[in-house]
Symmetry: D2
Subunit: 344 residues, 4 copies
């Protein structure tokens, strides 16, 4: 089998990593790069890393032309732009993996409040599948439109779901202290990402107000089957890639042991090739350039005390498991392949 | 007035920053550097940064000799070593500012449990003053032995004390998510601090088990006048210097407003020259090379809900306000000077 | 004595470091910050590092108003803009230290070729003094207009002048391999300075075509009293601050020894407080935050062979000795103070 | 076909990257990891990055056992240790790719002077092939013992050989100004590689005295067929990986044009898949994680003048093309495969 993949808006970081992963994939290859730019660049001129490996030149965004040359399309467009293109892509017969936020929130009204923009494709929103394979692999396999999860939500949902689904932790008051590398902020220069401002710095941003917070709550609410409330406090790390989340939860039962908590992860993920449960503590460097999510769970504080906490540490590469790698994992499942193909 | 300062064990990072600050101080100067090394180095050979600025050569640790040439001595020895030297230094008539952990915990039994070492100087422990001037300036002024606070405890206590002393937050279940630059780990090479292992990394360490946790609880318990329980989860940042703490607390009263929380800080610190209350969010880069502690407070989550949280962000330079700068601030107070002398 | 200093365009990095140095200077203080921006910022809003230390708010660029409140003005304007303001500043009676390139090249025609812009102030160009105190201190003392040297030229001229003035090296074919931290590129965001592009990178730029090359040749030609030809090949380092130059020269006499070369530096700089001649090798980290230039000289290659080379290593902080620190050093000399005042 | 690969001393960085490349290689796989350590580690315990991807546990260094389970062995031992093991490995029938320096210098006496250690395997030294495929591919194909080139020599030889073999530059007085990431220094902690010492630093080391200098001269002398003299001045970059060399040469003919120089590279490398000739300038970031060598050539300085120079810029990933990637490229050729297999 040979999968032909198109990418819309490949000149950002998620596009770059998609191309890299597709070049290494034994069953797929990039065939069509589509850009809305007036001057259509050769991708290797945009990313000198790709010289000698990919000679594709960007072409206009044309759903029918793409459908002739591709089986699946990855949309790396900004939110509110993706939903303008997705309907035509689906109509042309393409399977679509959307890396924007446009099809992640199932409640269109919530989307409109969070993203401050009308949702003009509610029809397809209803059929979109949230592409977090460790939790929803079966739905992914049959989907023609995948909402590829956000980076923070991927690390958070994988860390919390096993505890929540087994009622081992309380569903309210969850604290997600998160830190991300700078590729997560995209490829456009801005004062706060100027090297001398960011190098040797560390700071929080948007505490409790990040758009990924409702996405996390939606996933956890699905897992639990009842409302879940979480607080996301992101920070920016002076590194290229990687997310580490330090997640604080309250145990549901004060007599729970760390071994029981750990067992919940073993059960949930024993057949999941991309989850690594660690006895020691995760580090973003250990997942860099991989599609793994490294997890570790600890129980701290005085037994029976108010301060007793479950801490889950979760590390991913924000560009791979948090974006392009997970998109490839979804592609593999949508086309009946082993989900690890090209990703180990 | 001219203050003569000695430093014991000046070849680590805290010694280096003490020397730098003393060279710039208008009223003090380093006069005696004392080392336990067999080969006694010129300090400028140890730190090429100091060439042309400091021509002192280390001499043996000799309390009486130091007392002839210095008014105050800074001890930069490891814990369990400092307490072997402090009695002789005090006996020789020197004022002592100890940067180790040996005189920080007032309860010697607690010290012995935490540091796994007998406390052999309980007599002086009783008179030692915990040198956090923003909270205990009056005691500092009259002290002859200062226990200079740890770096994490400095950032934490300054962030939490105003809220706790006004009963605006609950005293239990406090979460301190902390991240520090690598100078905090000292100057001795080790695999985890080897550049290619640490660069582009981010990871937690010792969650709930760091020795600074009981030190934080002691200070907050003093402030409140009743027990306080806090959880410290430190992380290591791939930068040289800086600590950022993201502190999660529960409001005591569910109707509290962010303005009231902020007012507590204004009241507590309006005359404190080294506290900067920020409307935006702190960044370790903004306090680098300064003795400032930048603070910001936020109230997040649904009003009345379980997840409502007070977040305080606290940033310091771990080597300045977290160690050597605070030691100079204490010296200024002990000798009747304005606490900002040489520090702005 | 109390020196009042104005700064025009203080919102870039050289302005920031000037303010920091002036705040620490025992005899000078910043009194007037002037900006061409429409919205005039408080400087502490622009640089949060300065909160609690400097409450100045920018005002319009008004030469007469500045002359009432200042004795000296530092112009941190871009080249081609500085020369529009300097005449009025001098006419108003201010001494001017210009950190742009506008008065560095004595040959106005050369300036116009290099900077591609007419030189409209040739009158003052004739009286401007090139402010490299180690070579031209006497002229600096009597100047009312200082052209503050470029960063690469400072490190290069200090490294080469002692050898050239003693005819120890050939005046042609000099190679200056240089590397600079990113603050040298200014504070405006651009794709090549976007953190994820620059972090973990290293690359050359403008080989043989950098505007500092003719400035270097001018200084060395002055020192030698006859033409000198040098090649500058700059590189960009993924660090904030620092320049290291590795300079390759051919010995004039094939029998020269390394000791003779070293002696030339000792003679040239024995009374220079900011030159540190090192037996080991310089490192940008050892000069960071200082006004020092660290130098080391080596003689390598087979005696008498074609490949015998003199190598001089030169390290400065591009923001201090390469810009703002040297400007303060010039100010000190212009006002009859010890040149090290406020800089050690 | 399926190639079975053993690695001796896989716990350093070159071992780590070999394993990573082998795991991704379609025709080869690691089968035997051999270590001289007393406690033999699971490789995934040593490198958490490999968890879930490689479950091999190190075994003793036993040539016969290895020969039963492997076709080729990569020796990642330190110099002077490798040559103790290679004879037995060859005798056991294994093909050997040695990543140490022990078989690189063809002149054993020169080896003994440079490495200060007796060469005890002169017999095999005579048959060893220097594994730089772009220059010596034919010899590689038939070899049973490969001396895998050093990192600096790889970047230098590829940059200089095309000009030298066409007599476009002079063979004497070649200057190689080089900068490397810290993985090149190995995985053992040392003060100079301690994060706070190295971060934000940049410095030269061993100018004119690096052991790779004679290796470079040997390769270039082979290419030219007559003596070549080069000077290597290495610097240490505060990054993980990458080498950039800025190489200064004198044109043989003063009328040469940049186009002619460039044409030499086109001719030399038009069929070489891992050489990318760039019109713009190389950057270590663009070759990271790849086996490419990016090259760019410039002609600078006044026509006919003493200072006219050819500059060649050469960038590689010191761990891939400079070590483990090149070793895989050699393995591919030794076993009759396309040299790019598993490397694009």
């Amino acid at each position: 089998m040979s999968l032909r993949a198109a990418i819309i808006a490949p000149t950002g970081y998620t596009g770059f990593y998609l191309i890299q992963l597709l070049l290494r994939h034994p069953l797929a290859k990039p065939t069509y790069l589509a850009s809305a730019r007036e001057e259509l660049p050769a991708i290797a001129a945009e990313f000198p890393q790709l010289r000698g490996r990919c000679d594709l030149v960007c072409r206009p965004i044309d759903a029918k032309a793409m459908a002739r040359e591709a089986d699946v399309v990855f949309t790396c467009l900004p939110h509110a732009v993706a939903l303008k293109h997705v309907p035509a892509l689906l109509d042309a017969g393409l399977k679509v993996i959307d890396l924007s936020a446009d099809y992640r929130l199932r409640d269109a009204d919530l989307y409109e409040r969070v993203y401050q923009h009308p949702h003009t494709d509610r029809a397809h929103l209803a059929e979109a599948v949230y592409g977090l394979p460790e939790l929803f692999a079966k739905h992914v396999a049959g989907a023609r439109l995948i909402a590829n999860p956000g980076c923070y939500p991927t690390a958070a949902a994988l860390a919390i779901a096993p505890l929540l689904s087994r009622s081992l932790v309380k569903p309210m008051g969850i604290i997600i202290n998160a830190a991300s590398g700078v590729t997560g902020a995209g490829r456009s220069p801005a004062p706060q990402y100027h090297f001398p401002e960011l190098n040797e710095s560390f700071a929080p941003y948007n505490p409790g107000m990040h758009r990924h917070q409702p996405e996390i709550e939606q996933t956890l609410t699905t897992v639990r089957g009842a409302p879940v409330q979480a607080l996301l406090v992101p920070h920016l790390l002076p590194i290229d890639r990687g997310i580490l989340e330090t997640i604080y939860l309250e145990p549901q039962d004060e007599d729970v042991t760390e071994a029981e908590l750990r067992e919940a992860f073993v059960q949930a993920y024993e057949h999941e090739p991309f989850i690594r449960l660690r006895a020691d503590l995760p580090n973003v460097k250990h997942v860099r350039d991989t599609n793994f999510c490294d997890l570790s769970v600890r129980l701290v504080g005085p037994a029976g005390g108010t301060g007793r906490r479950v801490i889950v540490f979760s590390a991913i590469d924000n560009m791979i498991k948090g974006a392009s790698g997970q998109a490839i994992q979804n592609m593999n499942l949508m086309f009946g392949q082993d989900q690890t193909t090209g990703l180990l």
